[in-house]
């Protein structure tokens, strides 16, 4: 505790000293970079100013009364307590103002709901605690996880510029094209939000939601999960890279080739050391959030892997849990999320690291056989 307090005090000192350096006093909504986000921004400002004007009028009357009609200034109370004309007026006028607000709001909403005629469809799936993007019709998809290190989060190193808002694999979309997002989730409800696009939609397990955007300006846009989704809700950012259409096509081809090369790795002849080395990276990206950097977990919710006798004693069971998940718990089915190489690697890693030293391994080909045998 003492160390933590000292760290906190040091952190406080640093943040106070460096406050001007990172001074960011953003107070308002971003106008964003799409037609819809601009409309929403204008709607927001219009309503804000209407509220300000009403507020100024009401509070002016009130403050004037507070100033002038106080007993200490010798004010004598009037005795009126109703006035039908005034009461009708301040019921009808607000209704008219509301109608004036509702008309542009309705028109914007209709545009937001028009997901027809898209140039490109992308499936977004929320996982605890990362995103998966699938390019529909392209047979290509990937996971996108936060790339900020835990050392930064736990104040052990300096925080980078895009702290908590950076990922390993950003979503890439072409500029100037209407992109339709189909959204769902694998476990709990998440919400995919990029403020600059004014796209926010809940991703709900078992259901598919729709949203769309068209971004003309290439650039990098950042967002976060907006719906509480468990422990690491704060740590599943969204990064979207908008590139010119040609660059997008090149990127997509290159990615598909790389994915094909990755699939070929399944047939490679792997050694235990190679698998452990690769497994360590997989573990750090996928498993560490629940099972901990040292495999101690957080029983009873997240079991320890270190010295887990059930797991170490039965390799088939171990592989089964990883491939199929455990229903009713946070343990997901990784069979379709990870490549066979990564599945083999992380199984081999957990059996031969984290204080375990089982000496056995499973190859990617054995994983493939295991998965085929289930079908």
């Amino acid at each position: 505790m003492g160390v933590q307090v000292r760290q906190a005090m040091a952190g406080l000192a640093i943040s106070l000293l460096s406050a001007p350096a990172m001074a960011d006093w953003t107070m308002n909504m971003t106008p964003g970079v799409t037609a819809v986000s601009n409309e929403i921004f204008n709607l927001h400002m219009t309503i804000l100013w209407i509220c300000v004007v009403i507020g100024v009028i009401v509070f002016a009357v009130m403050f004037w009364s507070i100033f002038a009609h106080r007993k200490s200034r010798g004010a004598k109370p009037a005795n009126f307590h109703e006035n039908t004309t005034v009461e009708i007026l301040w019921t009808v006028v607000p209704i008219l103002i509301l109608v004036g607000m509702a008309i542009p709001a309705t028109s914007t909403l209709v545009k937001m709901y028009d997901t027809e005629a898209s140039d490109l469809d992308i499936m977004i799936t929320g996982y605890q605690w990362r995103w998966r993007y699938d390019y529909i019709g392209e047979d290509y998809g990937f996971f996108s996880s936060m790339s900020t290190s835990w050392d930064e989060i736990y104040n052990r190193t300096e925080k980078g510029e895009n702290y908590l808002l950076e990922v390993d694999n950003p979503l890439v979309i072409p500029a100037g094209k209407k992109v339709r997002f189909l959204m769902t989730a694998n476990d709990v409800i998440h919400s995919w939000w990029v403020p600059a696009f004014a796209v926010k939609k809940d991703t709900i397990p078992g259901f598919i939601n729709e949203a769309w955007t068209r971004v003309d300006k290439p650039g990098i846009y950042r967002g976060q999960c907006a719906e509480l989704c468990g422990k690491d809700h704060a740590f599943m950012p969204i990064v979207v890279k908008v590139v010119p259409p040609d660059e997008y096509n090149d990127w997509l081809e290159a990615q598909k080739e790389a994915a094909a090369r990755e699939r070929e790795l399944t047939s490679k002849d792997w050694s235990l050391a190679e698998l452990v080395e690769r497994g360590q990276r997989v573990y750090a990206a996928q498993c560490v959030a629940c099972h901990g950097a040292e495999g101690r977990g957080n029983p009873p919710i997240f079991p320890a892997l270190r010295g887990n006798e059930r797991m170490l004693g039965d390799l088939q069971w171990h592989l089964g849990v990883l491939v199929n998940g455990v229903r009713g718990t946070a343990m997901q089915a990784y069979g379709d999320q990870l490549s066979e190489v990564d599945l083999a690697a992380v199984v081999t890693f957990t059996r031969n690291a984290l204080g375990n030293n089982q000496g056995d391994m499973v190859t990617p080909l054995e994983v493939r056989d295991f998965k085929n045998a289930q079908q």
């Binding site: 308002n28 709001a105 403020p195 709900i204």
Partner: protein, 523 residues
């Protein structure tokens, strides 16, 4: 039983049995108020943990899972443990005095509905010490995060919600029975004080929606333990169904927390403006309209879940309509102050701040009602700012105003006005410092319910935390003021406020243990 000894027994019982077995509305009212303040301090301590963690970016004090337990328990305790019981306490103390009744209509049930609460909240708080920790899925406990993915303690949380629901329903039945049956002869409905009116309508809301809450947690229980799939798409259920049911309870619930405060302020402003309340009848109709509309707007909490366009439009228009009766109430309060002869003792200070700050919360509520804009506001700190503006200077300031207004009647002593004004100004500054920057954070894009945030949110979070600590500490001053007033102080007359009106001021201060054994005459 009916022995003569009991007929002549006018004072309270001695010792602990006075509090355990009491059926006296004043004793029960005091217990409700003390209980709710204890819960307010516990829930407030959790808020301090939250704000300490958010003081600067990075994880310093607590782990994310514990942070989620804090936000969840803070919300549950403040809503169900602090605000609602405080208003029931005020109702217990004041409704019989205001309608000229000797006690609540159902005194033994009254005792039970209070004593259920400590049981429920002990159970809820005990989850903090269970393996896996307390509920960590937010006070809205959305499925499947709270069902399939909830901690083992979720079952205890469900049972606690059931018990507090039973308590609320019994309290509401008691309020309705008292108001409808026990008014002094001559007190017609449209002569009732507004605090009585607002509580009558609140009680109907409670009876309508607490069973819905009980239903939704029971469905959770079935999903967790009995293999049903109400909220699990894999079994044919629907996670969004949970949200529809929850918010059908949840939206009227927010009015349950604010309508009695409307009533309090409608008593206090005329008293300190020395002028009758402007538009009494329209105040009553406005509260009724708000109550009815509150059942038709629940999906405005769900604009981003993917409800159809027509649904979005219906719930947007219905929600915007609430601004009309709410506006009427604000205009009426201002018109009451206009050309009055005002003084600004603590109850009036809290009431005036209520009108100003609740109106600001109302404006942000109107902004949130605009469905397209809500896609940017939803689940950000803008929402956190909005509901804290309606709940802290709304419900909480309303309760403080009520306590200062009626404290002389309860204790027989005047409270220390200087300290009370200090309490007001520190609370006012602290509260605005804590919650106003949250509007900026939300608009700039900070999601709610996160233990750590990107660097551009640092400055306003630090200011907000400083304000929160100031507000939190100030509430200990309130405890001191009330204890000081209970123990002694200048003797309060039967009617300590020059402009106050109502039957409660016709009995002595402190109010005798039994009042209005014969009904008063209404002129």
């Amino acid at each position: 039983m009916g022995s003569h000894a009991q007929d002549h027994h006018h004072g309270p019982a001695k010792g602990i049995s006075r509090w355990l077995f009491t059926t006296n509305h004043k004793d029960i009212g005091s217990m409700y108020l003390i209980f709710s303040f204890a819960m307010f301090l516990i829930g407030g301590a959790m808020a301090m943990v939250i704000r300490a963690e958010l003081f600067q970016p990075g994880l310093q004090i607590v782990e994310p899972n514990f942070f989620n337990q804090m936000t969840t328990m803070h919300g549950l305790i403040m809503v169900f443990g602090a605000v609602m019981p405080a208003f029931v306490g005020l109702a217990n103390w004041m409704l019989p005095l205001m309608v000229g009744a000797p006690d609540m209509a159902l005194p033994r049930m009254n005792n039970w509905s209070f004593w259920l609460l400590p049981a429920a909240f002990l159970m809820l708080l005990s989850t903090l010490f269970m393996p896996g920790g307390a509920p960590n899925f937010g006070w809205t406990f959305y499925a499947p995060l709270s069902t399939t993915y909830g901690p083992p303690s979720t079952t205890f949380f469900i049972f606690a919600v059931h018990i507090m629901g039973v308590s609320s329903i019994m309290g509401a039945i008691n309020v309705i029975a008292t108001i409808l049956n026990m008014r002094a002869p001559g007190m017609t409905l449209m002569k009732m004080p507004l605090f009585v009116w607002t509580w009558l309508i609140t009680a109907f809301l409670l009876i309508a929606v607490m069973p819905v809450l009980a239903g939704v947690v029971t469905m959770m229980l079935m999903d967790i333990h009995f293999g049903t799939s109400f909220f699990d798409a894999a079994g044919g259920g629907d996670p969004v169904l949970f949200q529809h049911i929850f918010w059908f309870f949840g939206h009227p619930e927010v009015y349950i927390m604010i309508l009695p405060a409307f009533g309090v302020v409608s008593q206090i402003i005329p008293a300190f403006a020395r002028k009758p309340l402007f538009g009494y009848a329209s105040m009553v109709y406005a509260v009724g309209a708000i109550a009815i509309l509150s059942f038709l707007v629940w999906a405005h909490h769900m604009f981003t879940v993917g409800i159809p366009l027509f649904g979005q439009l219906f719930f947007m228009y219905a929600t915007m309509l609430i601004a009309v009766p709410t506006g009427v109430k604000v205009f009426n309060w201002v018109a009451t102050m206009f050309r009055g002869s005002m003084t600004f003792e603590a109850p009036m200070l809290f009431s005036v701040a209520f009108v100003i700050l609740f109106t600001i919360g109302g404006f942000s509520g109107l902004m949130l009602a605009i469905a397209p804009a809500d896609f940017q506001y939803h689940d950000t700190y803008f929402v956190v700012a909005h509901f804290h503006y309606v709940l802290v200077p709304g419900a909480i300031f309303g309760i403080y105003a009520a306590v200062y207004y009626w404290l002389p009647k309860w204790t027989g002593h005047m409270y220390d006005e200087v300290l009370a004004k200090t309490h007001f100004w520190m609370s006012f500054v602290g509260m605005n410092l804590a919650f106003f920057p949250m509007h900026f954070l939300g608009l700039a894009g900070m999601p709610r319910r996160i233990p750590d945030y990107a660097l551009q949110f640092s400055n306003f979070n630090m200011i907000s935390s400083i304000g929160a600590f100031m507000f939190g500490l100030t509430q200990l001053l309130f405890l001191f003021i009330v204890v000081k007033c209970a123990l002694g102080g200048p003797k309060a007359p039967a009617k300590p406020w020059e402009g106050a009106e109502g039957l409660e001021w016709e009995v002595d201060s402190p109010a005798p243990y039994h009042t209005f054994s014969t009904p008063p005459e209404i002129k």
